[in-house]
């Protein structure tokens, strides 16, 4: 047989076979459908296991991050006595400086006999009185003392006590002169035990020095007569010059953590177009007859507040209001009567809940085996409220001056967390076709089988800070629902979406 004959033979066979079909037995489709259902359930189960695992890992990670953040927010516990270490009698380590006062060369009570009389009753240390310890000396001591008081260093209490005495001594003189120095400064360290204790208690955290006798002069009144000078001590004080040394590594952290909460808070407002997707998992064969809706693009508007936990980490919480719509592509659905709450009626099932067709709108009372047609001509609106809680991590940041004047800040950050979504309202109009030929528009409002759900979200944002407080940000975010938005149905529906948040943030912290 030649090749030509072979080709002719093949062509003859092809012509016979072309266009022919063999009707498959009905059981073939049943087999396909059941096999598909079985595979879908298997996939669902494996997905559920995977999701559970993921949620577990994420929860553990969040726990670890939260623990680390909590740990970092606790100032290191240190013995107060260790915070200020006096390496030698001449060296005082300070964690904080205070304003130092010196006296003014003014007459204090020259023209006020009552004050003079009061001071005349004051018990004075004869030594100090004789030595005319100067106000300058006392003030210098006061400086050192107040600094030590802040850090509650009991070892320096003697200075404070002494200063009180010196104060009394100084006021015994009608006129004070500044700049006097001399060996009197050593008397600053002479003190008695009772004064030491009293001063220690009364001066913790305050500059106000009060003595046992209410009639004695109050240090605050004396301070009113003084004016600040620079923190450096001159030679004329004959005092050891305080040397500041950073002994403790955590000290910068303490400063950072002392940033008031009000300055770590920022408020944001944003809007976002949302591209939504419905993921339907059918668990029973009847679920294949409905649930073909598509979510259309929606809009989300939100407010959120954030609190800076550390230099890099911020916790972000807020509230989002979302609106979207869905339809089933103008597909006509045939609804058969069924028993709803003991009454015969029609029920429209969708992937996003069920709703009963109001019987009062129908021309006749629905009877068993009746049917109506339903078409969605306008998308059904869906509103929801979400409560997101996320953590934000600063990936990159750059500060610069715009035009050499305006401080600007460019930042890239990642944000991840979860959200809790509550359905608010779902309503829409549908066209109903009765078997009698009558058609009308019905408004469906009371969707059932809806439930709140939660999910996870993650995104990367870019933020441009302009000026000291204002920020503008763009934040593409992907979110994925982990639990179904419907309940007690033969399918489960999870929503996922992609949005681009565009908004502003007001930071109470100045850049």
């Amino acid at each position: 047989m030649s090749e030509f004959d072979d080709e002719a033979f093949d062509e003859g066979l092809r012509r016979v076979v072309a266009g022919h079909g063999v009707d498959p037995p009905p059981s073939a489709w049943t087999g396909v459908r059941l096999a598909m259902l079985e595979r879908q359930l298997t996939t669902y189960k494996s997905t559920t296991i995977w999701l559970k695992g993921t949620v577990g890992v994420l929860s553990a990670l969040l726990g670890v991050v939260g623990y680390l953040l909590y740990q970092s927010s606790i100032p290191p516990i240190q013995n107060p006595e260790n915070q200020v270490a006096q390496a030698s009698p001449d060296t005082v380590y300070l964690t904080r400086t205070e304003t130092v006062y010196r006296d003014r060369p003014v007459v204090v009570y020259l023209e006020r006999p009552e004050v003079k009389n009061k001071y005349s009753n004051t018990e004075l240390n004869p030594t100090l009185s004789d030595q005319h310890s100067t106000s300058n000396t006392w003030q210098a001591e006061s400086k050192a003392e107040s600094s030590n008081t802040v850090v509650q260093n009991g070892t320096d209490v003697q200075n404070k006590a002494e200063s009180s005495k010196n104060l009394k001594s100084n006021n015994s003189k009608p006129v004070m002169k500044a700049g006097t120095s001399g060996d009197n400064s050593r008397n600053l360290f002479d003190t008695d035990e009772s004064n030491r204790k009293q001063s220690s208690v009364q001066n913790l955290g305050t500059e106000n020095t009060q003595l046992d006798d209410p009639g004695k002069i109050n240090a605050s009144s004396e301070l009113a007569l003084l004016k600040p000078i620079s923190t450096s001590f001159g030679r004329n004080f004959k005092m050891p010059k305080p040397r500041y040394r950073g002994l403790f590594a955590p000290v910068p952290d303490i400063t950072k953590l002392r940033t008031p909460l009000s300055e770590r808070i920022s408020l944001s407002a944003y809007v976002s177009p949302d591209w939504n997707k419905i993921d339907v998992r059918r668990e029973e064969p009847d679920a294949f007859t409905y649930g073909d809706e598509e979510l259309l693009i929606g809009v989300v508007a939100g407010l959120r507040a954030s609190v800076k936990l550390s230099k890099k980490w911020t916790v972000v919480g807020g509230v989002e209001f979302g609106g979207s719509s869905f339809d089933d592509g103008n597909r006509r659905v045939v609804l058969s009567t069924e028993t709803i709450n003991g009454e015969t009626g029609y029920q429209y099932r969708s992937a996003l809940g069920t709703v009963a067709i109001p019987s009062k709108l129908l021309s006749s009372v629905p009877r068993p085996s009746d049917a109506i047609g339903l078409e969605i001509h306008e998308p059904i609106l869906r509103y929801s409220l979400s409560l997101p809680l996320s953590f934000r991590y600063e990936l990159w940041q750059k500060h610069y001056l715009f035009l050499g004047q305006v401080p600007m800040n460019l930042q890239i950050y990642g944000i991840f967390g979860g959200y809790w979504q509550v359905p608010l309202r779902q309503e829409g109009k549908v066209q109903i076709y009765e078997s009698s030929g009558r058609e009308f528009t019905a408004e469906l409002r009371h969707f059932q089988n809806l439930r709140s759900s939660w999910g996870i979200q993650a995104g990367v944002g870019t933020e441009l800070g302009i000026g000291r407080h204002f920020n503008f940000f763009i934040e593409p975010t992907v979110s994925r629902g982990l639990t179904s938005v419907v309940e007690n149905m033969s399918l489960t529906t999870t929503l996922s979406n992609f949005g681009v948040k565009v908004g502003t943030r007001w930071s109470f912290e100045k850049r």
Binding site: M1, G12, L13, V16, V17, V22, W29, V32, V280, F288
Partner: protein
């Protein structure tokens, strides 16, 4: 650009629309079962092949690029499923599934018109199904799927010569049977 009915159907399937799955199945099942018949020895095998093929079609639907005919794509999946089954099953590689004893030099080929005018679809399919699996596979792939011997050899892991030989033998057997049927008809 508006979607065609076929594209809408596919999209609906991808969204999990059970009705769309059923619609696709009923639209193509008969023609695909005819394809499956050619690759199977029994009707039950053909039905199993059809089911397996459609399950794969629905699973792989997202990979359909709308670049060619949807029916052709489904048909290709059916053929690949048949090939897979053939590879997994016992490979009957005997060189002959019928009797070549009466094929003499005086053998005259059957013309295309004779076949078309005198052969019925069912008869022809029955004859093809009677071929041995190795002949049947090569014959189907070459005649109906349009594959070349090199491709067939690679697909079935046989030599090009074996492919040619199997095709030639399958043709002869079929021609013999067709002549017999035509003779009986006349």
């Amino acid at each position: 650009m508006p979607l065609t009915e076929e594209q809408k159907l596919i999209k609906a399937c991808l969204n999990g629309d059970g009705t769309a799955f059923e619609e696709i199945y009923h639209q193509f099942a008969a023609r695909m079962l005819a394809v499956c018949y050619r690759y199977s020895h029994h009707k039950d095998d053909a039905k199993d092949l059809l089911q397996e093929g459609f399950i794969k079609v629905f699973e792989q639907l997202s990979k359909f690029r709308h670049e060619g005919s949807f029916e052709g794509w489904i048909r290709r999946i059916m053929v690949l499923t048949a090939l897979e089954k053939y590879r997994k099953g016992t490979r009957e590689r005997e060189s002959y599934g019928g009797s070549l004893d009466d094929l003499t030099d005086a053998f005259q080929p059957v013309s295309s018109d004779d076949i078309y005018s005198q052969m019925g679809f069912d008869e022809l399919i029955a004859m093809i199904r009677e071929l041995s699996p190795a002949y049947k596979m090569v014959f189907n792939l070459y005649v109906f799927e349009g594959m070349k011997h090199e491709e067939i050899a690679k697909t079935l892991s046989i030599s090009v010569g074996t492919s040619k030989s199997n095709l030639s033998d399958a043709r002869k057997i079929l021609q013999k049977r067709i002549r017999k049927v035509m003779y009986d008809h006349n």
